[in-house]
């Protein structure tokens, strides 16, 4: 999933919410919107929490197609 799709999903979620506010939307439609919205919210959350916490420092630059050498990093105490 790309960053764009996070932004898009979030915007769509907000649109869905706005539609639900509409008086003329019936129960059937509301249910569809709700389902869609739940899906979107879930997708957003998944992305928002999709990166694991990690602090590393680069040991050596990697050439094209190679993996960069890294090591965990913790700053020295004062």
């Amino acid at each position: 999933m790309t960053k764009e799709s996070f932004e898009q999903a979030l915007e769509e979620l907000e649109e869905v919410v706005a539609k639900l506010e509409d008086e003329s939307v019936g129960l059937e439609e509301a249910l569809k919107l709700f389902e869609r919205g739940v899906k979107l919210a879930k997708r957003c959350r998944t992305q928002l929490e999709g990166v694991e916490r990690r602090v590393e420092q680069l040991l050596a630059e990697a050439a094209e197609g190679e993996e960069a050498k890294t090591a965990p990093f913790a700053p020295e105490e004062e």
Partner: protein, 481 residues
């Protein structure tokens, strides 16, 4: 008086010797004009004041070490030696050092670089990119041992879901600008990061100099991913700050921007989700209100049963996310009040037909919701919360209770299946009651929404701390009178 005759070259050599002896190394104050850079890299210019001008030459090896660029109109102090250039026979000042007057050398260099890059449009607002929507993978360009890296990581620790890749560099001293530029270039192109933070703690103009160098500015400008600068203190502006997509006043603030972006996005998602459920509940409540109103209108005998099913379905739905329940509680009170009013819907408004319509639609909706819950109950609010809300225990906590026959864990859902004299166990959120059935209350056809079995009388013991009816069976038997 004898006149001596010289060869030209010889004379010039003599003059130069005399100049060296008579003047040696001198300082000349004036204004630059006609500055030219030759193909060889040597600089040629005039220095002048109101009364005269003098040709100057500065060899490339010296001139390239200047931090600022020689330019017409600059007021300067020049250090050098006078010399006649034999090929042309003209007098020049061969310049060793140039000091700007009235402004520091670094300040001048800074102003020059700023003007140059600004003219190129490198600082233009339209070049600036915002932070990415999810700045989760950060490239960090700074010293591994400074206060800046500590400050940044401290702020970043507020957000669980991000990764940091530090490219350690020297942030001051000769060659540091090359390291910073290289790091920015590498991280930007590595595909490993969404955003690059270029930071350094406070220091003198000299200390921060690397961040005023053109090579750093060019690297930042060319970065494929947005760059946030946070160099020095609030008052310090560096060229890097001007060219960065986002300028933070300090390293700490650079990190704050990232975390605030992520927190803001999370707020948006949670608000969206909350409004979504609230909006949907309003729709459901609205549907239910209409049903209640219709039920109140004179009508069909079969209807209450179907309505009751629907009501149960809606209640099951309400039991979904814990979040929803709180919302429903308030809404239900209001709904109850409104329902009283709706009871008076006249039949002539076509109530029976609409009733059918609403009933059918609610039935479909209820069915779909039930399968939705079954399929994706866990997804609804993500894990635990939904799980908790779906558990029978939570339902019990809302004041419902479950009745089972002794020795049979299946819930009793119809009073007609229990005979007088049978023993039943009622499970509450906390504890159970064993009861002896005295009799059945007639009137299951009564109003849909009235509690049934309100007339049941019960006797029994409270058994605290038991979670499930079947688990409590033995205990109950032992404790019976």
């Amino acid at each position: 008086m004898s006149s001596r005759t010289y060869g030209v070259g010889e004379l010039i050599r003599e003059i130069n010797a005399a100049l060296a002896g008579g003047f040696g190394e001198i300082w000349v104050r004036g204004e630059l004009s006609g500055v030219k850079v030759a193909g060889s890299g040597h600089r040629y210019f005039q220095v002048k004041d109101a009364d005269g001008q003098l040709s100057c030459a500065m060899w490339a090896a010296r001139a390239d070490r200047l931090r600022f660029k020689l330019a017409d109109g600059q007021a300067v102090l020049l250090r050098g030696r006078l010399e006649v250039y034999a090929q042309r026979g003209s007098l020049s000042l061969v310049v060793e050092e140039v000091r700007p007057e009235g402004i520091g050398e670094l300040q001048l260099a800074f102003e020059q670089m700023k003007a140059k890059l600004e003219a190129e449009g490198l600082f233009a607002a339209e070049r600036k990119r915002p932070l990415p929507a999810l700045p989760q993978r950060l490239g960090l360009v700074t010293s591994a041992s400074g206060a800046a890296v500590r400050d940044v990581l401290k702020v970043l620790s507020r957000w669980e879901h991000l990764s940091v890749l530090l490219y350690p560099v020297r942030v001051q001293g000769k060659g540091s600008e090359g390291e910073v530029a290289r790091a920015v270039r590498y991280l930007g192109r590595s595909g490993l990061v969404d955003v690059v933070l270029v930071v350094r703690g406070g220091g003198s103009l000299e200390d921060l100099w690397a961040f005023n160098e053109e090579i750093v500015a060019r690297a930042i400008a060319a970065s494929p991913v947005p760059v946030v600068s946070g160099v020095g203190h609030e008052v310090d502006f560096t060229i890097a700050d001007f060219v960065a997509d986002v300028r933070a006043a300090t390293p700490t603030q650079a990190a704050e921007l990232v975390v605030a972006t992520l927190e803001g996005q999370q707020r948006r998602v949670e608000t969206g989700h909350r409004d979504l459920t609230a909006g949907f509940l309003r729709k459901l409540e609205h549907g239910r209100l209409r049903l209640r109103g219709l039920e109140g209108a004179r009508g069909l005998a079969r209807l209450p049963l179907r309505l009751k099913e629907l009501d149960q379905r809606i209640q099951r739905l309400e039991a979904l996310p814990q979040l929803l329940r709180a919302l429903v509680a308030g809404r239900r009170r209001r709904a109850e009040a409104a329902a009283a009013h709706l009871y008076r819907w006249p039949v002539r408004f076509g109530a029976p037909r609409r009733r059918e319509l609403v009933t059918a639609r609610l039935a479909v909706a209820g069915e779909r919701l039930r399968s939705l819950v079954a399929r994706r109950g866990l997804e609804l609010t993500g894990g635990e919360r939904a799980l908790g809300a779906l558990s029978p225990r939570r339902v019990l906590e809302r004041g419902y209770s479950m009745t089972t026959r002794e020795g049979d864990p299946k819930p009793v859902t119809n009073a007609a299946t229990v005979n007088t004299g049978e023993r039943i166990v009622t499970t509450f959120a906390v504890g159970h009651l064993r009861s002896l059935v005295l009799g059945r209350v007639n009137g299951t056809q009564g109003s849909l929404f009235e509690e049934e079995g309100a007339g049941d009388r019960a006797q029994g013991t409270v058994d605290k701390g038991q979670d499930a009816p079947h688990m409590g069976q033995e205990t109950h038997d032992r404790r019976r009178r």
